[in-house]
Every structure is written in structure tokens, then in C-alpha cells.
């Protein structure tokens, strides 16, 4: 019996469909929406459950009368990619500025009862909702995150007047910073912060609100991490 054109077409179609059916498993995923997309890129330097230890050089340059170089140490315990417990301790020594020296001399002859930073210890949280990467000149891709910090603790300060009285001030520290990940074990950190403190000054027997605003740059390490990265 000879094949008719209609029967030939039907047979061809069925054969094609049966070939596809045998080649792979079909998966029905429905319609993809933008809100379903949560990962823009590979998170190459995860922080979850890691310990981070850092050291920083800092400067408090915003006070016109006392300028303060300082050294800070930090320890972070990361609970997730966003949230970590932060401990920041450090020390420094505020020195009188040239403006202060000018005020002490004639014709002004005044000595502001300024206080210099000596040391501080703060504990709080860091929240890092932003993880991103940047392309530098098309040749290098750098991963970084941006975080905000809120910490509580105490600051030790000393009067710059000859009485040299020392005070311990409760402190709220607020900051914004960023980590540039060099590899899985190390990051370059930069933070701008403002410590808000309330201190008692014995010479004037008065309480004063004070801000220690500063900048710090340093490096942090993730002990035990595999320092090798993977394809970006």
C-alpha cells in the first residue's frame, strides 16, 4: 500500500516529536519575574560565620583646637552576610592645634578647656546590606561591601589644661565604612565615624556633650579562610 501525502506529513511530525522527547527531560518553570532574582552576581567573598580581625590608623581632624592621631583594633564575628558583632578598641593622643597656641598668646590670652582623646572601647553591630563589585578599567574586578556601624562603650579623655584631669565618658559610636576584598583572607577597610560622648569636666564641674569625628584606614584579616578566589 502506498503512503499518501497527508499520512507522510503526519508520520514525519510524530517522528520529530518523538525524537525531542527522547533527547532531554522537559522542566516546566513557569514565568520568571524580576522580583524572583535575588543574586545579581556571585558573592565571591562570603563572610557568614567568619571571624574578622582588623587594625587601623586613624585621625580625628575635625576639631579646630585638638587634633588626634589614633590606632584602632577591631574584631568582628559575622553571623550572616549582612550582620556582624563588632568590637572596636583603640588609643591615641590629642595634641593642641596651632590655632589653640595662637589663642593662648596675646592679644587673645585665652585657653579653651578642651579635652584630648586617650582611649576608647566600643561594642556594637555592623550592618552590611550592600555587596557589589566594580570594574577598574576593564582589567580588574574588585569586590566590596558597604556597612553601617552602631556601637556603645566608653571613651577616656584628658584635659589639655595644666590640671590634666581625666574623665571617662559613655559613648555612642556611629559609622559608615567599606571593605575592599583583596582575597578571601584579607580586606582593606575604610571607615568614617562620629563618636558621641557625654563627659564630666572636673575643673568646671559641668557635663558636656562632645563629638569625636574621625577617619580610619586599615586592613582586616579572616583567619583560617582559603585565600584563593574563583572565577569572577
Amino acid at each position: 500500500m502506498a503512503l499518501t501525502p497527508a499520512s507522510f506529513a503526519t508520520a514525519t511530525l510524530l517522528a520529530a516529536l518523538s525524537i525531542e522527547a527522547h533527547a532531554q527531560e522537559a522542566v516546566d518553570i513557569g514565568v520568571i519575574k524580576d522580583s524572583d532574582v535575588k543574586v545579581v552576581q556571585n558573592l565571591l567573598y562570603p563572610k557568614t560565620d567568619k571571624l574578622e580581625v582588623g587594625v587601623y590608623l586613624g585621625w580625628m581632624p575635625f576639631d579646630p583646637l585638638v587634633t588626634t592621631p589614633n590606632l584602632q583594633l577591631s574584631v568582628n564575628k559575622h553571623f550572616s552576610e549582612d550582620l556582624s558583632l563588632s568590637v572596636m578598641v583603640g588609643g591615641g593622643y590629642g595634641v593642641k592645634t596651632l590655632r589653640y597656641a595662637e589663642l593662648e598668646k596675646p592679644p587673645y590670652q585665652v585657653a579653651p578647656a578642651a579635652y584630648r582623646y586617650l582611649a576608647s572601647a566600643l561594642v556594637g553591630v555592623e550592618y552590611a546590606p550592600i555587596y557589589a563589585k566594580m570594574n577598574l578599567g576593564g582589567r580588574k574586578v574588585i569586590h566590596y561591601d558597604i556597612y553601617g556601624a552602631g556601637r556603645l562603650g566608653a571613651t577616656i579623655e584628658q584635659s589639655v589644661l595644666p590640671d590634666g584631669s581625666i574623665t571617662a565618658a559613655p559613648t555612642l559610636g556611629l559609622g559608615v565604612g567599606t571593605r575592599f576584598f583583596a582575597n578571601k583572607g584579607m580586606a582593606l577597610r575604610f571607615e568614617i565615624y562620629d563618636d558621641l560622648l557625654v563627659e564630666y569636666r572636673s575643673l568646671t564641674t559641668s557635663w558636656h556633650f562632645k563629638q569625636n569625628a574621625g577617619l580610619q584606614v586599615g586592613v582586616s584579616f579572616f583567619p583560617g579562610a582559603n585565600t584563593k578566589g574563583s572565577r569572577k
Binding site: I146, P162, K210
Partner: protein, 429 residues
């Protein structure tokens, strides 16, 4: 994607820290010294004859006390009791002094130190005798010198008789005395002077001068030329405090200030050129309600007050009002005691420009903090005595150092305090 509100931090960074403003009093530019060059300028006009006699009689006790640095042996003398107590109560009597005398007649003496021994120093023999001889016999105008003063002359000094000589110029006399005591006097020392046409004063320009050269102009009087440089040699010592003591019943009529002008410009600028700390003492006319002003003009008195109060000095009225119609000479022994106290206090006291808030005073000597002194009453002497350190005297708003805290020469003393009236002046930012 959530983002951190970075903008919320910006106001905190922009806010300024606030500090209380303490004042700083101290002698940063000048070191401290116990050298005192004391210049007595006596009004030698005839109106001062009685006062000069009384002063000379009290000068004897004053000079003996001060020059010998020993307490009077007879503390029962009424006139000496205050001075005795002041001497015993203040252990800082280690002043290296020099005494010189001139008078207010600049036309005749132009600040020249008078006497056979014009500069009498602490280590000289018979300090009191030499000084009194200079004062009574060479400088003052005394008709009949009392025998109890202990000088050889029986009529004193020189009396100003000319109209120009009767112009009392104590400030000019002090200036010219200092001009004569330095190797490089300021240019102002060499100013020539033309007498006024009525002979009552002096001018920097010849009479009728219009600025054009005038062949008929009279020659000026050169009171000071190169020949007079160092004519008071030895009087001004390096680093010394200069203490002019002016005795007059008239206000100042010094020639470089316009008549009826109570300011002290340009003398305040001229004196700075010598580079010496100065503290002025005046026994003179006063506008105080308890005093008698006498013939002195207001503006003349104001000049003297400017010099005294601008240098933390002493002003003692020369004549006191007993009642509405009667004036009596002041107690010159007390006046001299006040001056003696000034001299002793110069080495250890620091006047504050504002009233301090109690408890905020901090004192340092060469950067080292000095503790506050404690005081107690010595029952034997019935005197308040102080331990080593500093104390504050509210009566004249002064910080005083005691005992081992008294600074040596050239030590840098600073007094920090919070002024009760708030910030002392406008600040540069």
C-alpha cells in the same frame, strides 16, 4: 535594595564641640625678675615744700626698712606697725633694687639723675643716707630742712622758678631718665623743643612755623643729644622692672600730649621701646570723694591714673578731705608702706584681668603645676601664714605665690582661670 542613610551622619560631623574659655594671665614674653630700678620723680615746685619735708621725714623710716631688709627693732612705733607686719608676713623680701631721683622740672634737668651718687644700689654703703641726700639736697624744693632727716644740707634741692620749670612733667621726666640710661635711645628722645612764645610750654615746631624754612626762627633747645647718651649710666639693668614713684600735687603736664588731653599717647608707645616691665606708683592729686584735688586739672590727673592702673601700680592721694572745707596731707608713711608692698609683691603676685570663678584657677611655673596654698593663723604673730603654693586675693583680684613657689628670674608663670563674666573678647572664629 535597602540603603544606609549616610546623609544622617553629615549634621553630626558639621557640629562643633563646645569648650569653656579660660583666661591666661602670665608673663610669657618677659621673664620674671627680682631686679627693681626705682626712680623717684619729685615735684620741685614751691607749692610742694611742706609736702616734700613730710615725705623726707617719712622717707627715713621707709628707706631704712626697705634698704636694710631688716624689720624695725621697735615694732611699737605706730607708724611702723603696718610696715613691720607687712614685712614679717611676706617672706618674699629678696628684691635687688636700685634707687634714683630726679624732679619734674624737665626744662632744667631733663630726667638727669641728681646727686653725688645718682644711682644708689642695694650693696652700697649707707644706702639711706645717700638716697636722702640726693632727694632732699638735690631734687626737692624744701625751704628749711629739719635736722631729724639726717642730711648735711639745711635748705634743699632746687626749686623750679621759671614758668617753664613750673610745668610739672613727671611722665616726661621718667621718659628722659630712661633715655639717658640706654646705649641706643629711641628716636623720640632726641626731639628738639621750641619754647612757646609766652614761655609757658614747649612745642615740636618753631613759633609761627608753616613748614617752610625760616631763617629767623629761634634755635630749639636740645635737651638730649648724643653727648647725653648714658648720662644715667647704670640705672637701667637688663631684665629689671622699672618703678617710677611720682610725688606731686599737680596733674601731669608733659609736653608730648596736647593740653587738656587725659590720654597717655604717645608715651605708652615710647616706654614699650625700652623693653622693661614698668609698674607706676603715684602720690598725687585725686578726684576721689575722700581726697582733695587741689590745683590739679582733671586731665592731668587722668594721665597719672592711666599710668598707674595700666601697670597694676599704686595710686595714693596726696591730700585727704577732712571736712567740706579742710584738706590735710595724707599719711605718707602709709603711702610709702603701700609702695613698699608693691615692690615686694611684684616678684610674686599676678593681677588677673577678670574675676575668676572660684575653684577654676590653675597656676603653673615653667609648665609645672603649683598647688594651692593653705593658710593658717599664727597665734604668736597674729598673722595669716601660707604654705608653699598659690593663693587668691579677692581685694585686688590677684594670684600670689608663696614660699618655694615664688618664681626665679625668667621663669614662665601662667595663671589659667574661668572668668566669671564669660568669654573675655571676640575670638578669631
Amino acid at each position: 535594595m535597602r540603603s544606609f542613610p549616610v546623609w544622617a551622619l553629615l549634621p553630626t560631623l558639621a557640629a562643633c564641640n563646645s569648650y569653656e574659655w579660660f583666661r591666661v594671665t602670665g608673663y610669657v614674653q618677659q621673664g620674671f625678675t627680682n631686679k627693681a630700678d626705682i626712680l623717684f620723680v619729685v615735684d620741685n615746685s614751691s607749692s610742694m615744700s611742706d609736702e616734700a619735708t613730710a615725705l623726707a621725714q617719712n622717707f627715713s623710716d621707709f628707706v631704712v626698712l626697705f634698704a636694710d631688709e631688716q624689720p624695725p627693732t621697735d615694732p611699737d612705733l605706730a607708724n611702723d606697725v603696718e610696715r613691720f607686719l607687712a614685712f614679717v608676713g611676706d617672706p618674699t623680701g629678696n628684691i635687688n633694687y636700685q634707687l634714683g631721683v630726679t624732679n619734674t622740672d624737665v626744662s632744667t634737668n631733663a630726667g638727669k639723675l641728681l646727686g653725688d651718687n645718682p644711682v644708689v644700689g642695694k650693696t652700697d654703703n649707707n644706702v639711706a643716707g645717700k638716697f636722702l641726700d640726693n632727694l632732699v639736697c638735690k631734687a626737692a624744693c624744701i625751704d628749711d630742712v629739719p635736722s631729724d632727716i639726717g642730711v648735711a644740707c639745711r635748705s634743699g634741692g632746687q626749686c623750679a622758678t621759671s614758668a617753664a620749670g613750673s610745668e610739672e612733667e613727671p611722665i616726661e621726666a621718667v621718659f628722659m631718665a630712661m633715655c639717658r640710661a640706654v646705649e641706643n635711645p629711641p628716636d623720640a628722645c632726641f626731639q628738639p623743643w621750641w619754647p612757646d612764645e609766652d614761655g609757658s610750654g614747649w612745642s615740636k615746631l618753631p613759633p609761627g612755623d608753616t613748614g617752610a624754612p625760616d631763617a629767623d626762627a629761634p634755635d630749639p633747645v636740645d635737651y638730649f643729644s648724643n653727648a647725653e647718651v648714658m648720662s644715667n649710666a647704670g640705672f637701667l639693668r637688663e631684665g629689671s622692672v622699672v618703678i617710677p614713684v611720682i610725688l606731686t600735687d599737680e596733674g601731669d603736664q608733659s609736653r608730648r600730649i596736647d593740653a587738656r588731653d587725659g590720654s597717655i599717647f604717645p608715651y605708652d608707645q615710647y616706654f614699650k621701646q625700652f623693653g622693661h616691665r614698668m609698674s607706676w606708683a603715684v602720690i598725687g592729686p585725686s578726684e576721689d570723694a575722700t581726697a582733695c584735688k587741689g590745683p590739679a586739672a582733671d586731665w592731668g590727673i587722668h594721665r597719672l591714673e592711666h599710668m598707674v592702673y595700666g601697670s597694676d601700680g599704686v595710686y595714693v592721694p596726696i591730700s585727704l578731705r577732712q571736712d567740706a572745707n579742710t584738706c590735710v596731707n595724707a599719711d605718707f608713711s602709709k603711702a610709702l608702706a603701700d609702695i613698699g608692698q608693691l615692690l615686694r609683691a611684684l616678684s610674686s603676685s599676678f593681677a588677673l584681668q577678670s574675676t575668676p570663678v572660684q575653684g577654676t584657677i590653675v597656676v603653673t611655673v615653667d609648665g609645672k603645676q603649683v598647688p594651692e596654698s593653705t593658710q593658717s593663723l599664727d597665734p604668736q604673730l597674729d598673722l595669716v601664714v601660707f604654705t608653699d603654693g598659690w593663693s587668691y586675693r579677692a581685694s585686688d583680684n590677684t594670684v600670689i605665690l608663696h614660699g618655694s613657689a615664688v618664681p626665679d628670674a625668667s621663669e614662665d608663670v601662667r595663671v589659667y582661670y574661668l572668668p566669671s563674666g564669660g568669654s573675655p573678647r571676640d575670638l578669631p572664629f
